[in-house]
């Protein structure tokens, strides 16, 4: 809204300052030292934008607004304070869904406002409103499905059925037709409501065929969707701060999504439509590799032997995976690392970009366990170090250390950059059972003659390791 009055000018100026604070805030997030102050800058920018908006002359009554903010703050604060770090991905999904839902509702109200006041929908506002409603609704329902999958309310597996892509395609076509009817005025309110319902349904149908291990990509993508929905809302309301902030988030989310996909060496279309990790795919996609593996022996190791190998190593590289988070064993693992360091062993953590259930999730989990971030090394930095490592300690990770990704073109994970655990002198794998990982394929690393398997719950195994190392 471009205002002519000085008050309007002041609001506009406040929005400009907010936008700058958001940019500086995101910039601050690019380094661990400035990240926290960056987040605070962004929060100050948000507060400024909200206070400035309260002065807008469009606002006639404050009661409902204040009530809404109080209720929303209470819900948001309680949720943010009580969530565990393991559950962070689903929490972010929920917050993201709220934003998407808000964008869809704002677009709907703006539609109604324009229809009632002018009787028609101008083409530019109309398209902005429809885009805001469509993307916001997809983000809302998609995020809720993602939350349900991560929380274990629905199955984490990819849900597939015959003609799935055809059904989704038909739904998308129906949504387009409805959008056309809304824009040319022939459909009226029923068409708009059907459009909204169709968008919600599309969000659900688009996310259910995506497996749990691909959720980092989905959450990242939905995050960028909500940003774009917000930007579309900004177009409809002619509000600059909405356009700038929404677009910043849209761009960042898209970039993160691309980075994630690159880390898995799978095109985004494969992640979204490939139904990776579907229930039956383990049997079919594993193909010959699995049959050839199943007969091979694996080498079992006792806790005592494992502890001795670790304690007398010069260099240990720890490879944590999502299994570590599930077992809540990150604190116990840090204890073992501390004991080893006290004995003069060099310890680093190798973090695969897709370890965990959202980008960088493993870093947060280890930071929670007080692991200093200098010990966390990413794939490119750590891979040359495996050759000089005495032990690669794999805890709850699987597909990201499978050498098949390097040399077996038949493998579904072929081409994915992996951590070269197999290049170290010994490989110690802590694992509950021989169950395959998310990709549903067997891991040839487990059958490597250099590999020792310590079976059992990660937390118990690590606690026993700690005791034994202490006693040595």
């Amino acid at each position: 809204m471009i205002h002519s009055t000085s008050l309007g000018g002041a609001i506009h100026f406040a929005y400009l300052v907010s936008s700058v604070l958001f940019i500086l805030g995101i910039k601050g997030l690019s380094s661990p030292r400035t990240a926290r102050s960056g987040n605070r800058l962004a929060a100050i920018g948000m507060l400024l934008a909200i206070v400035a908006t309260l002065l807008d002359r469009q606002i006639l009554s404050y009661t409902w607004i204040v009530a809404g903010i109080v209720v929303g703050s209470a819900i948001g604060a309680v949720a943010a304070r009580t969530v565990t770090m393991t559950a962070m991905p689903q929490m972010v999904a929920l917050f993201n869904g709220s934003g998407g839902g808000a964008a869809a509702l704002v677009s709907s109200l703006e539609y109604r406002h324009l229809i009632l006041s002018t009787g028609a929908l101008p083409i530019d506002s109309g398209i902005s409103i429809l885009l805001g409603a469509l993307i916001g609704a997809i983000s809302f329902s998609g995020s809720i499905v993602a939350f349900g999958k991560l929380q274990g309310i629905f199955t984490e597996k990819a849900v597939t059925y015959p003609l799935q892509q055809v059904v989704n395609g038909l739904l998308a076509a129906a949504i387009l037709v409805l959008a056309w009817m809304v824009l040319n005025g022939s459909g009226g309110n029923p068409a708009f409501l059907a459009f909204l319902a169709g968008s919600l349904l599309l969000g659900v149908l688009a996310v259910i065929p995506i497996g749990g291990g691909d959720m980092p990509v989905v959450i990242s993508l939905l995050n960028s969707f909500t940003g774009l929905a917000t930007a579309a809302t900004g177009f409809a309301l002619h509000n600059v701060v909405l356009i700038i902030s929404g677009t910043l988030v849209g761009a960042s989310g898209t970039l993160l999504t691309v980075l994630m996909c690159r880390a898995m060496n799978r095109p985004i279309t494969n992640v979204l439509f490939g139904a990776f990790g579907a229930a039956p795919s383990g049997a079919t996609s594993a193909g010959g590799g699995r049959a050839a593996m199943s007969g091979k022996p694996v080498r079992d190791v006792s806790v005592e032997d494992a502890a001795t190998i670790l304690a007398y190593a010069r260099k240990v590289i720890i490879i944590p995976g999502y299994g570590l988070a599930v077992a809540q064993a990150q604190h116990a693992l840090r204890e073992v690392a501390d004991l080893l360091k006290a004995r003069g062993v060099e310890v680093v953590y190798a973090i695969h970009p897709v370890a965990g259930r959202m980008p960088g999730h493993m870093n947060v989990l280890l930071a929670e366990a007080n692991v200093p971030y200098e010990e966390l090394k990413d794939l490119d930095a750590v891979n040359p170090e495996f050759e000089s490592a005495d032990v690669a300690l794999v805890v709850g990770a699987n597909d990201v250390v499978n050498p098949a990704a390097r040399h077996d073109p038949q493998s579904p994970i072929y081409g994915m950059p992996i951590l070269d655990a197999d290049k170290s002198k010994h490989i110690l794998v802590l694992k509950r059972s021989m169950k395959p990982g998310f990709a549903g394929i067997d891991n040839e690393l487990f059958y490597d003659p250099k590999t020792m398997m310590l079976f059992g719950d990660a937390k118990e195994s690590i606690a026993k390791l700690a005791q034994t190392v202490k006693a040595l």
Partner: protein, 99 residues
């Protein structure tokens, strides 16, 4: 009307470039806080929700607008708090355990 739109479009296109530039330098270890931090920023849609609720004239519009404000606030408050909680855990050297 078209002037309005071109103004908005200019801002939109420039913001894409700014967003890409400032984010392409973020290290992997900060991806989760970055995601949840930017997640909080798109809660700015709350501003839009406040504007439409402030101008609402019927009960239906008020209820819908109220829901939008609640959802937007959850996004903002939850997003910033949870990001701060995560970031306070990132420290350089291992210190004493904090809650």
């Amino acid at each position: 009307m078209i002037d309005h739109f071109l103004n908005d479009l200019t801002i939109f296109v420039l913001a894409i470039f700014v967003g890409y530039e400032i984010i392409s330098k973020v290290p992997v270890i900060l991806h989760t806080p970055l995601m949840s931090g930017t997640n909080a920023i798109h809660g700015i849609v709350l501003v839009g929700a406040m504007l439409v609720l402030g101008g609402a004239d019927t009960t239906l519009a008020r209820v819908v607008g109220f829901c939008a404000v609640v959802l937007g606030t959850v996004n903002v408050v939850g997003g910033f708090l949870v990001t701060d909680r995560m970031l306070q855990m990132f420290r350089k050297k291992s210190g004493p355990n904090e809650p």
